[in-house]
Assembly symmetry: C2
Homo-oligomer: 196 residues x 2
DNA sequence: GGTCAAGAGTACAGATCGGTACACTTTGTG
DNA sequence: CACAAAGTGTACCGATCTGTACTCTTGACC
């Protein structure tokens, strides 16, 4: 298969970028550990930045599918009649992620940390990723005005990001549960009706 | 002065690390922009990791002094009779920081993103930094049990970190105000009495 | 079986990396 | 003035970095 080779390369790169960061991971090491020859690598991606970009795009897709499907399943199983079931489930899913052995924080937060310049295309892409998640969250909120839904989505994203960062830097693995409790308190004080 | 040379070196290194990250900033560039000769640099710090560590230690001191003094002043000026004056002021101070032109996110979050390995001394130091801030916040909470105060401090730190990361990755500069509103809602639902 | 694209393997270029060696200069002090 | 500490300037080391060139091999398809 043609795709699987490329995918395997991207998977390997993602793993290495996660473990050692983007700058600290050399092209040679990606080549060596993926088994894909350097010639082929540079046929797929013109340079390292394009590889990083492609890795983030794959991660965006991959994480998106995993997360949204987990949210649906957890929502059905754990919060069948809960008014904020989907929103609650997001924190459960993040908690699962945090407790997994492949947790190295959020790739996009890490990327914007390494490519700190706001103008850098990779930083811009990371911002766009967060924007898309904000819109996804927004889609799980209803019964309030547009402006209110936007605001609530930003609040919940802030809680999720806070939980992820907290878990990554300090190693506190219960931060998703903490953020979940906070969200619940906030929702109970809003007039929102929320889809489950 | 002996100290000022070292300080100037550390300040220059901090600026470069902020703008371009730790790995992407070469020793040569720190040398060139600081004006301090390489020989002297390596007399102060045995290697790059020690330089990074020293930069973070300086930043810890520097930010700590700035932040705590801002909190005291803002608390007095803006929340003279507010029950949660100090806690409120923390978010105002972070907002000021976010709006400044020297905002590149939290150095310690960024450091733990680049030195992703939990065992790495720099990651450990970043975690310790967060722990100390958690204790500072805890010192601004009273009227609740020890366990409850610990939990509240962790919650507030999560909100602050979430605001900082959100502002850095997406460029949303109003995230501190958002986090502040969330904290207020949470405090109003707790039984805490808080020192101002 | 012949053809041709895709990939492997590798050598290498040019730059930069962290770090060292060493000779020279400045500066403070008795 | 003498002397020692501290700092400068620079050349250089070996390693590693991104990226390119070129040959050899494999395998699919006609």
């Amino acid at each position: 298969m043609a795709g699987s080779r490329k995918e395997h390369l991207l998977e390997t790169a993602l793993k290495l970028f996660n473990q050692h960061g983007f700058h600290a991971t050399g092209i040679d090491r990606v080549q060596a550990e993926s088994g894909v020859s350097k010639t082929t690598m540079y046929k797929y991606f013109r340079n390292k930045d394009e590889l990083i970009r492609a890795v983030l795009e794959m991660r965006h897709e991959q994480f998106g599918k995993w997360f949204t499907s987990r949210v649906i399943k957890i929502s059905r199983e754990s919060y069948p009649d809960h008014p904020y079931g989907k929103l609650m489930s997001m924190f459960d899913a993040v908690s699962e992620w945090i407790h997994s052995d492949t947790f190295f924080g959020c790739n996009f937060i890490n990327a914007s940390a390494e490519f700190s310049d706001f103008q850098h295309p990779i930083h811009v892409y990371a911002a766009q990723h967060k924007l898309e998640w904000s819109e996804y969250i927004r889609g799980c909120v209803s019964g309030v005005s547009e402006a209110e839904a936007d605001e609530m989505a930003k609040e919940i994203l802030l809680l999720l990001d806070g939980a992820i960062v907290s878990a990554h830097t300090t190693g506190l693995k219960d931060s998703a549960e903490r953020a979940q409790r906070m969200m619940l308190l906030i929702l109970q004080n809003s007039t929102a009706e929320v889809l489950d």
